[in-house]
Symmetry: C2
Amino acid sequence: MAAQRVLIGGEWQDSQGTKTFTAFDPKTRTALDENYPVSPWSEIETALQHATAASRMMRNWPAERFAAFLENYAARIEAHSADLVAMANRETALPAAPRLKDVELPRTFNQLKLAAQWAREGSWKTATIDTAAGIRSQLEPIGPVAVFGPNNFPFAFNSAAGGDFAAAVAAGNPVIAKGHSSHPGTTRLFAELAHAAAQETGMPPGFIQLIYRTSHADGTKLAAHPQLGAIGYTGSRSAGTQLKTAADAVGKPIYLELSSINPVIFLPGAVAQRSAELAEQFASSSTMGAGQMCTNPGLILTIAGEATEKLVEDIAARLTAAPVGTLLGEGVLDNLSKGVQTLIQHGAQVMAGGQPGGGTGVCYQNTLLWVAGRDFLAAPEALQTEAFGAASLVVVAQDAGELVQVLEHLEGNLTGCVYSATDGSDDVLYDRVVTVLRPKVGRLLNDKMPTGVAVSSAMNHGGPFPATGHPGFTAVGLPAAIKRFARLACYDGVRPARLPATLQDKNTTGTLRLVDGKWATADVAAK
Amino acid sequence: MAAQRVLIGGEWQDSQGTKTFTAFDPKTRTALDENYPVSPWSEIETALQHATAASRMMRNWPAERFAAFLENYAARIEAHSADLVAMANRETALPAAPRLKDVELPRTFNQLKLAAQWAREGSWKTATIDTAAGIRSQLEPIGPVAVFGPNNFPFAFNSAAGGDFAAAVAAGNPVIAKGHSSHPGTTRLFAELAHAAAQETGMPPGFIQLIYRTSHADGTKLAAHPQLGAIGYTGSRSAGTQLKTAADAVGKPIYLELSSINPVIFLPGAVAQRSAELAEQFASSSTMGAGQMCTNPGLILTIAGEATEKLVEDIAARLTAAPVGTLLGEGVLDNLSKGVQTLIQHGAQVMAGGQPGGGTGVCYQNTLLWVAGRDFLAAPEALQTEAFGAASLVVVAQDAGELVQVLEHLEGNLTGCVYSATDGSDDVLYDRVVTVLRPKVGRLLNDKMPTGVAVSSAMNHGGPFPATGHPGFTAVGLPAAIKRFARLACYDGVRPARLPATLQDKNTTGTLRLVDGKWATADVAAK
């Protein structure tokens, strides 16, 4: 069977590559029919040339052009929901409903619409005008963006439709999408719709391009290429750090979402007060999406006591009773098995699960592990190994002091949750905990679980390394996420007619600007 | 003579180090009297512990506290101008007046006052509130910041008083200043004033600390340390990339200003129209501060022709006639000599200067080199070697097409200047040039030279690598520069009383915030 075509320079064309791969059905553990090409370097370089040409052609284009594309594309996705859901369900085994159809797909097209809205609004540019000095500056498109999507969100983080894609386009950039190998068909469907939208809205040929896979060497070559503006990557820590090393060596911005175990801290008063509620919330969050969530709660921190023992037993029982979800693929299963083994090798004891199986197709039992605080402190790095899936480690500290010591050894995470008593009895300890925890997590939660990343302007889906590559940026939340794909461009003494529209005296776009030290949407007053 | 003391944990104390160094007087080429210690790792680690304690103590402190410190410190600097100017003049040979006394010192204390003003104003936090989702976020202090200052601005970029220092403090962070070895006495005077200001304004002991020098190994260890929040570095490309590699490997934000040759493009119409003016402006900019400016114009791009030949001859004559400044030190002289030799080895011909000497103390003749466009294209990397000092390379392209080809090979730069005719005759070429140039430079100028970095909110003293490490940030220009030393902190379902002041419903600080999709300074309305 001929391989699927790649989208390069505005044309669906046969790949120049000779190697191919297939996707798998995780439910039946069998290969799917379609073949997808591995793109050779020559093809990637051609894509870069087209993207560069597009970037130059779109220089100083009004935000309206990108907004129109995003809205046209969003409408096409909505109209093709059934095809997308069927394909993604086949490739990922994620439930067609409610997960794919009712949650992730609406989230995806709504995010594209929001990106259009914030592209128009334009405050993310922080347009700044100093009339006395004759200097003006703003954030502008960074250039071609390569988006590497993850396995676990075939829609919302898809390289050709998800959050990084939306943000890169809203900033005014062309995108080279590198589909994830576990759902190439889903990515192809998105790229077809994006291409149609790009044609209808008059975007240049190199605006949206798609390749399915590259060699590792070519992936790093792409990440370091002088014509690439930036990289958005969501996926494994090992592959991501390889790309990061290549990009960093040439000072190329790379935005990563790598690894996070999302500590959940149950303070004693909360355990005493509402143990069953905690257990229920945790078990539900831990097994959501078969645990394949960036914000899956992989670590529980508690203080020893009878109530804690009961809570842990309760969680173990709930996890054992809960259905076991199908994993996205054999690679996920392998990594999960290895992750759990690493935790066991460093002293963790199995309270629930701990073995492959328990459900349909590729699967692994819902798992809970346990370790004493002092043992965690003996091997803090190994015991923070991510076991991506429905597997969590409970650390039981002997007292508050040991709990804080454990916190001191935590790496960076996307989230950190603290459950405390409602009567104020945990408040002193809460302060001690949060003083150490706050700088280590992108999002701090009170009395709720980390899964469920709301598409909110105030969301931070980011955090210190290894959660991401830079703690100042978020992958979700508009307009903030747009700024990742921009560079600061200053105009010093540039003749007025040559300035971009958003920096001209007359504020035709109504953008919020910092003019002579004051935020305003008004025109610059004539002198 | 005993070594000068380091400032650690709020105390001036003897260093634990056994090695020392001295500064030099570039005018007499002799060592100065004072000894300064090389701090061993144990001392750096102690400083990190104090800085971490300070960071935690200052968690959620109002901006007013940092603003008060900055203003107190600025006033002390102003009051001690004479001492600072005398010391810096002795250590750097930069003219006491107007350069140090009338330009750089006022710039320095005014920048601290501006930082206080923008710390209070707070819009840089992009405080964002989503009342429906119960999520709030803002940029918050990133943690202890290590500042490595450069040799060429003993005041304005001093690690204990300059732009990075001001921005790091305005964001709410403690600073560990690593003084530059060429002006340790100047840095000590600043740190004494900063320490007094910190004591008077009630800042914690680890807020401002000073060390003078570390081994290279300890410098990289510091850059990668888990307790460090971020690094600000201005200096050589080689030392900077070593720090960058160490910081990048652990995902630590590092803001660098490394290397920039600042292309100046003279389009044919401008040359025909005002050749003498161009020559005068260029020669003046090239020799400013003995050429030791980050924005020194090291590269001229032109198109061949009789007028261009005359212009180049005119510039050469003016450079030959201009006084030769004293360089900052022997290291600068060595690097400058080597840089010029590299250019010559790759085909550049000397039009003026090209040898050490010509002035008082450590010096090198004002230098102009020449190369044809096709020769540049044969060795574009070598011919972009920075020759830090008053040395520039003219590239003469045979036609507009070759000029654009040369532009395609340019690395990232802080600035790019384009001079064009005022009658519109260069406008078509201007567009071709700027389409390629714009993404490669942080600041685009029209009809003016790049030296002179105005302290303006709209300034971008940044640009793509190797000018800096990330094209989205600037080292000069408030409030933008503050954002470098912040991380994004999100509060999801956090109980109202536990929120930072700037994220509470009542906007007691009057900060501009994005509330439910609208920018406002009002309180969040009760529901």
